[in-house]
């Protein structure tokens, strides 16, 4: 009886949250805000998507990658080049990006079979450092008229307008960028739920927890690992495509690719590993924290005056220190840690009213 009631309450709450989320994300943010804010939210969403993908690898499969910025950049460049020099529309580029990043993910993922844990982090670090050199060498330098480097862009405004088949409430490029990213994010979240709860998802966790034991029950470890790697690469690649809609260009330097990789990883950890929504929320937090540091960070602390250039230099420090502190306080992230604390609270509540001090 009480269990039923608890379940009903839960359902009602979940439904309410869902309605609120649909309204806020589907209508409130893109319709009532200025361009800059919509773009910022779109950015938060695609970082969230990439983090969610990385979490499949890191959270569920236990492999640490610090090279997913490379897949992100791969998606970015593929979309930008196809749109810029081959006149494709954004949506047409997505299947290509998905297939390409999955394919490259399989290729790079093969070493993941042999290397364990931290060693994979090394290999993927190489990926992150190498990718900008590759674009420098192989991307034609005439794709960017103004910058003269191996960037692609800036894309013409016409190409960023919403296509004709979209509903009429999508009027402006920023709304198109937002809704496109949002759609991808929703598909990504649903797909992730399905993946994690499937046979494959359980195999992922089994391999993470005990590789040898997983093998004895007939899990093909090689296949599981490679597919996990490639799927997370796919998420990162598609997120990179969305980057083009928001920033109108594709660019990769060794610093930026490494930073993206770290941002994804940080988002995973902030949100909570091995939770579906955690990394997504983590991605949003990362983007908005970054914005907060660069915009509304106080310009004097006590007697120390901080000028603009110092502020830019200082933001990684704040980020880094925040990260370390978070690892001490909530090593399982906001969603994971929140769930843990909530559960233990509930348990102590249920255990009886004998301990009045617990609340």
């Amino acid at each position: 009886m009480t269990a039923d009631r608890a379940r009903i309450i839960r359902l009602v709450v979940a439904f309410g949250v869902l309605i609120a989320a649909v309204y806020i994300f589907g209508w409130y943010i893109p319709q009532f805000h200025e361009q800059g804010t919509t773009y910022l939210w779109a950015e938060a969403l695609y970082i969230g998507v990439a983090a969610m993908g990385l979490n499949l690898l890191t959270g569920y499969n236990g492999q640490v990658s610090i090279g997913h910025g490379a897949f992100f950049a791969l998606g970015m460049y593929t979309t930008a080049i196809l749109m810029q020099s081959h006149d494709w529309s954004f949506t047409e580029t997505l299947p290509v990006v998905a297939a390409l990043s999955f394919g490259v993910g399989v290729l790079v993922g093969f070493p993941a079979l042999r290397v364990k844990g931290l060693y994979l982090a090394l290999v993927t670090l190489g990926l992150a450092v190498l990718f900008p050199q590759l674009t420098n060498r192989f991307v034609p330098h005439d794709l960017c008229k103004t910058c003269g480097t191996s960037q692609v862009g800036e894309l013409k405004a016409v190409k960023l307008l919403p296509p004709s088949w979209t509903p009429t409430f999508i009027k402006y490029p920023d709304q198109w960028a937002y809704y496109a990213t949002l759609t991808i994010a929703v598909i990504g979240i649903v797909a992730m739920y399905l993946i994690v709860r499937s046979r494959f998802g359980r195999a992922l966790i089994a391999v993470r927890d005990h590789e040898a034991a997983a093998e004895t029950v007939g899990i093909n470890i090689a296949r599981v690992k490679v597919i996990a790697f490639a799927t997370s690469a796919l998420y990162a690649g598609v997120a990179g495509s969305c980057f083009v809609l928001v920033k109108r260009l594709a660019t990769a330097s060794s610093v930026s690719v490494f930073q993206f990789s770290i941002e994804f990883l940080v988002a995973v950890v902030i949100g909570g590993t091995a939770t579906v929504l955690g990394p997504f929320i983590g991605g949003i937090i990362v983007v908005f924290t970054g914005r907060w540091i660069s915009e509304s960070f106080p310009s004097t602390i006590l007697f120390w005056h901080i000028n603009e250039s110092v502020k830019n230099l200082l933001s990684p420090a704040i980020f880094g220190i925040g990260l370390i502190l978070l690892m001490y306080v909530l090593p399982d992230g906001i969603v994971g840690g929140g769930r843990r604390i909530l559960n233990s609270r509930l348990r102590s509540l249920r255990r009886g009213k004998t301990s009045p001090a617990s609340t």
């Binding site: 190489g126 040898a212 090593p331």
Partner: protein, 292 residues
Amino acid sequence: MALFLTQLMNGIGSGAVYASIALALVLVFRTTGILNFAQGEMALYSTYLVWFFTQRSVPVWIAILLAMIISFIGGALIERILIRPVEKASPLVLVIVTIGMFLAINSIAQVQFGNDIKILPRAYPNKTWLPGGVQISSDTLVLVGVLLAECLILYVLLNRTRIGLAFRAVASNPESSRLAGVPVGRMLMLGWAMAAAIGALAGALVIAPVGLQGASMQEILVYSFAAAALGGFDSPLGAVVAGLIVGVAGTMTTQYLHAVHDIELVVPFGLILLVLLVRPSGLFGSRRVERV
């Protein structure tokens, strides 16, 4: 032939740097089982310290020595304060902590000392000898000499002293050594401290010729990771040999393989991949067997 030998010498010179930093990585990995992504930035900070002292007209070698001492203490403190609380955490948490350190140290160094390029005074005269057409610069000789000295000191310290014995005991089995009365915590601090001091020395020597700035150590760190992975992360000897291999492979490919022009980093990562695929524990690393 002379060109080949010249490139060989250059390769050995830069390889000596990679070997030094790889040695630092190995010291940290052996004791605390951490891939320290912040090792390069710790060396960067130490090098800024050297610059700071030389600005106050301290002679270069003394400045390097001072920076090494401060780094030694700093390394120990980092282990004690930042790493110890998360010692038993998952590898992911440890990676995140070192990445946090990476970001923080790099930006603190630039805020504290300014982000313009610093020129360090040389610690020794810049000379080039030409025996039989082969160019040998004083840089190469000093770097190799320093590497040899490091190896010698580490060898004596680890294999010929009581502290070294305790250190190795902790590296191979912390639980048992704790039971045997070895101060495990202090040994872990020692590992980080030595790594930081080695990094300070290598950083100061390698950066002096090219100028010091925020991103100075990052590429070096990448090559050093390659070296450490190639040698097997738990073998100091492996780190040294592999560092030299990576250095020589780097200069040789840029000289003779024009296909990798602009993408030189292919070399260290090609090497890492190759080794990990063929021999996951590295050239000199010990293999681990897991029981179910």
